[in-house]
Symmetry: C2
Subunit: 459 residues, 2 copies
C-alpha cells in the first residue's frame, strides 16, 4: 500500500499548466500585435488546408459510420459537417470534421513532432464558432494559440512519447483544442487552467491503429474532448492546476522525456504554426521528392509516350517503405514510389483521385510505372530524389529535387494550396462553390462570424 510508485519522477517541473493557461488567456491577439502578419497568414493557410481535407473526405465510409453512430444520440442541428448537408451538435461536429480532415492522411504536418495540428484544433473551433457566433478573427487567433499549445507539448515529449506508441496528434491535440476553445470562449487564466487540466486526463490515440478508421478518429476525438473540456471549465468544473506537469500528471505519465523548456522558451514570441507544412501529394512523405521530380519532367514537356525508361535514384529508406512494384489498389499505391512517379509524369500531381483503384489499374498507368527503374543511392538524402528520363529519341532529361514541394524549405504556394483544395472539394461542392469557399478562407480573419462560410460548406 505504501509502495514507492513513479520510478523517475520530476518534482521540480515549472508550473506548465499555469504558464500555458496565462498565455492562452492573455496573449494579445493579432489585432493587438500578438504576432506577425506572416504568422497570421500561415494560420489562414493552415485553416484552408484543413478545411479542404475535411470536405474531400466528407462522404468517406468512415464519415458515414461516425455520423450513423452520432445520429443514435438524436443530436441538435447546431453545427455543419464540412461537405455534407446534415448538421449535428457542436461536439459531434468537432468529432466528425476531425475524422474527415485526417481520413486521407493529407492534412498538415508539424515536422518536428509529426503532429497533424489542425485536425483537433480547427475542428473544435469551427463548430464552437458556428454555434456561438464567434468572429473569424477570434477563430484565427484561437487557432494560432491552440496549435502553439499542442505543438509545444509535443516538442517537450517527442520522440519518446511517440516511440512509446502514442499517436501524438491525438494525445497532444486534446490540449490544443481545449486551449483554443478556452480562448474563443474568453475564459480567464484560472478557468483556462481548468480546461487544460480536464483535457490532460484525456490523451487519445495509439499508433497500432494506423491503417484503420480509428487513426483519423484520434484528431476527431481530441477535438471533441478539448471542446467539452473548455465548456466544462466555463461552467465551473475543476481539475488539478498542475495536471500537465505533476509527477502523476499527464506528461510524466505518458512520456519519459519531458523537456519543459520546449514549452516555456520564446512563448508568445515564436509560434509553432510558422513551422506547419502541407502535403501536395496524398501519400507518405518519403515519396514526395520522386513525384515532384516526375512532375517537373512533365513541366519540361516530357510526355508518357516519349518515355523509354525512368531512372530513379533515392535513399534506401524510400524503397524500404514504398518499394511496392505492382500495387493492386489505391491503398497499396500509397506505398509505391513507382506509382507515384507515374502519377507525377502523367498528371503533374497526385491527389486522392490519383490514388483511386481505377487510376492505379489503368493500363497506361501500369505500363508507365513499369518503366521506372529505382536504385538505392544513400548519398541522396531521404528528402531528395534524382530522376532521369530516357526518351525514345535518345534524349535524356534530368531533374534533381533537393527539397520537395511541400517541405519547409520549399513550401506550397498559396496558388498550389488553392489547387489542392479544388482537387479535394470540386467533386463534393462543385468548382464554383469551392472557389467561393477558398475566397472566404483567405478573408476569414475579417469575417464577422463563420455562418457565411459554413453555409457554403453544405452542398
Amino acid at each position: 500500500m505504501a509502495r514507492n510508485t513513479q520510478v523517475v519522477a520530476d518534482h521540480n517541473a515549472p508550473p506548465i499548466t499555469q504558464i500555458l493557461a496565462k498565455f492562452v488567456a492573455t496573449h494579445p491577439g493579432f489585432a493587438e500585435g500578438g504576432w506577425s502578419a506572416e504568422v497570421d497568414h500561415e494560420a489562414h493557410r493552415t485553416f484552408m488546408n484543413w478545411l479542404g481535407c475535411a470536405v474531400g473526405a466528407a462522404h468517406h465510409e468512415a464519415a458515414d459510420a461516425a455520423l450513423a453512430a452520432v445520429a443514435m444520440l438524436q443530436p441538435a442541428e447546431q453545427a455543419t459537417l464540412a461537405g455534407r448537408s446534415e448538421k449535428v451538435d457542436m461536439a459531434s461536429a468537432a468529432l466528425i470534421n476531425g475524422i474527415t480532415s485526417h481520413t486521407f492522411d493529407f492534412d498538415d504536418t508539424h515536422l518536428k513532432t509529426i503532429i497533424h495540428p489542425a485536425g483537433p484544433v480547427a475542428s473544435a473551433l469551427l463548430a464552437l464558432a458556428e454555434q456561438t457566433g464567434a468572429s473569424g478573427r477570434a477563430l484565427i487567433d484561437a487557432l494560432v494559440i491552440g496549435i502553439d499549445v499542442s505543438c509545444r507539448v509535443g516538442n517537450a515529449m517527442y520522440p519518446d512519447h511517440y516511440d512509446r506508441g502514442w499517436h501524438i496528434t491525438g494525445s497532444t491535440g486534446t490540449l490544443g483544442a481545449a486551449a483554443a476553445c478556452a480562448r474563443m470562449l474568453g475564459l480567464d487564466a484560472q478557468q483556462t487552467a481548468m480546461a487544460l487540466g480536464i483535457a490532460a486526463s484525456q490523451p487519445i490515440g495509439m499508433r497500432e491503429q494506423f491503417g484503420t478508421m480509428t487513426k483519423p478518429f484520434h484528431p476527431g476525438a481530441a477535438a471533441r474532448a478539448g471542446l467539452m473540456s473548455a465548456l466544462l471549465a466555463s461552467k465551473g468544473f475543476t481539475a488539478s492546476s498542475k495536471a500537465l506537469e505533476a509527477p502523476r500528471g499527464m506528461m510524466q505519465t505518458i512520456s519519459t522525456k519531458n523537456d519543459w523548456t520546449e514549452i516555456t522558451s520564446e512563448l508568445g514570441e515564436r509560434f509553432e504554426i510558422s513551422f506547419n507544412s502541407y502535403k501536395p501529394f496524398a501519400c507518405g512523405i518519403v515519396i514526395h521528392p520522386s513525384i515532384d521530380a516526375c512532375a517537373q519532367l512533365r513541366a519540361q514537356g516530357v510526355t508518357p509516350d516519349q518515355v523509354q525508361s525512368i531512372e530513379l535514384k533515392v535513399h534506401s529508406l524510400v524503397l524500404e517503405l514504398t518499394g511496392k512494384k505492382e500495387p493492386a489498389d489505391g491503398l497499396q499505391a500509397k506505398f509505391s514510389v513507382y506509382h507515384g512517379c507515374a502519377a507525377g509524369l502523367f498528371f503533374g500531381h497526385a491527389a486522392e483521385d490519383e490514388f483511386s483503384d481505377e487510376v492505379v489499374n489503368r493500363p497506361d498507368m501500369v505500363a508507365l510505372r513499369r518503366k521506372v527503374v529505382a536504385t538505392v543511392d544513400d548519398s541522396i538524402d531521404e528528402a531528395s530524389a534524382d530522376v532521369t528520363a530516357l526518351l525514345h529519341d535518345g534524349r535524356r532529361v534530368h531533374v534533381f529535387v533537393e527539397h520537395a514541394i511541400g517541405s519547409l524549405q520549399n513550401p506550397m504556394t498559396d496558388a498550389l494550396l488553392e489547387g489542392k483544395f479544388h482537387g479535394l472539394s470540386d467533386s463534393v461542392l462543385g468548382a464554383a462553390r469551392t472557389a467561393e469557399v477558398i475566397q472566404a478562407c483567405w478573408k476569414i480573419g475579417q469575417a464577422a462570424d463563420l455562418r457565411g462560410l459554413t453555409a457554403l460548406l453544405r452542398p
Copy 2:
C-alpha cells in the same frame, strides 16, 4: 526516421483483443448457465450500490457543472440522470451518472486493482438500456461481462500502470463499458473486437486529478467513450484487431507490466465481479476498521456521555494517512480517524451526511473526538483496529476488529447495502420512493425493460 522505438516490446502476446471479443460476444448469459447464482446476485449488489452513490450525488456541484456544459449541446431527452428530473442524450447521461457515482468516493472497489468497476460500466449500460429498451436481464449480463473485461485488463497491468500515474478506473473502464455495450447491442465477435479496439485508443485519467472534480469525471468519461465505441462499431467503424496487445497498442503503451495470463486464465469460469466490495463508510478505507469498532461499542450500549476516553490502537499507516486531530470541515474529516471514531460511536455509521461540515463542527462531536487517544501498534494489521472505551463509571469496554465490515472477508450484508442506499437517496428521492427503487434493483434481472426503474429515479 528509422529510429528503434519501443524499448521493450512484447511481440508474442496472445490475441487478447480477439479472445476478449469472443468471450463478450459468445459467453452464455446467466439464463443459459453462464455463471452461478452467487455471481449473479453480486451483480445485483454491484448495480444497487452504484445506483445509490449516483443518486446521492445527483445535486453535487460537479453534477451541476457537467450538466450545464452538456446543456450547451441541446441534448435530446433520451436518458435519465439518476436523482434528477432532467433527461439528456444517452452518451451524456452515461457521462453524468458516471461522475455522480464516483463523486463521494463511496462506490465499489475491486480490491486487487483498486478499480471502481461499476462507474464506467453501469453508467453506460443504464443509459443505453433506457434508450434501446433492453431488458434488465440484458443489463445484468452485460454488467458481469463488462466488469470482467475491465478488471482482467487491470489485473494484467496492475500495479505498474497505476504506479505510473494512471487512474486505473478510467483507463480500464473505457474497455469495460465498450464490452458491456457491445454485449447489450448484440454485436458479433468481430464487431465487438472493433468496439474494444476503438475504446483502446481512449484510456482516461491521471491520478494527479485526485481531490478535484476531474477524478469522478474519469469513470464518467470512460462510460461515455465506451458507449460511443460500441455504437461506432455497430455502424461499421474499424480499429486494429490487435489494439489491446500489439507493441504499439493500448496496454504496452500505457503499462510496462502486462501479464496476459491474468486475462486468459479461467476466462468464463472465474468472474471478477465476485471480488467486488462496497464501502460502508464514506471515507478512505484505512479508517474503516476504527469506525466499525466504535460502532460496535455503540451496539454494546456505550453512549457518548458515558465515555471518559477512547484508546485506539492502529497500524502506523492509519495515522500517517488519516491522523488529522482537528478537522476544520467535512473534506478534512475524511482524513481524520478521530472524527471517524466519534461518528461511529455517535451514529453507528458514517455516510456522506456524517462527513458534512455541520456534523464535523458540532460541539458534541468535537468534544467526543478529542477523547480519542490514538497510538501506533504495528503488530495490528492495517485492516484491523483495537479500541477500548474507558467509561466514567470505571468500566472498560473492548472491541477488536480483524476485518472491517465491507472487506472481502466481512462483506456488507444485503440489509446493510439497503441502509447505505437509504442514507444516500432518502434526501433526494424520499424514503418511500427509495424503498421502491431498492426493490426494483433486487428484481432487475427479471425486468422487461429499465423504464420502470428510471422513472422512479426522476424526482
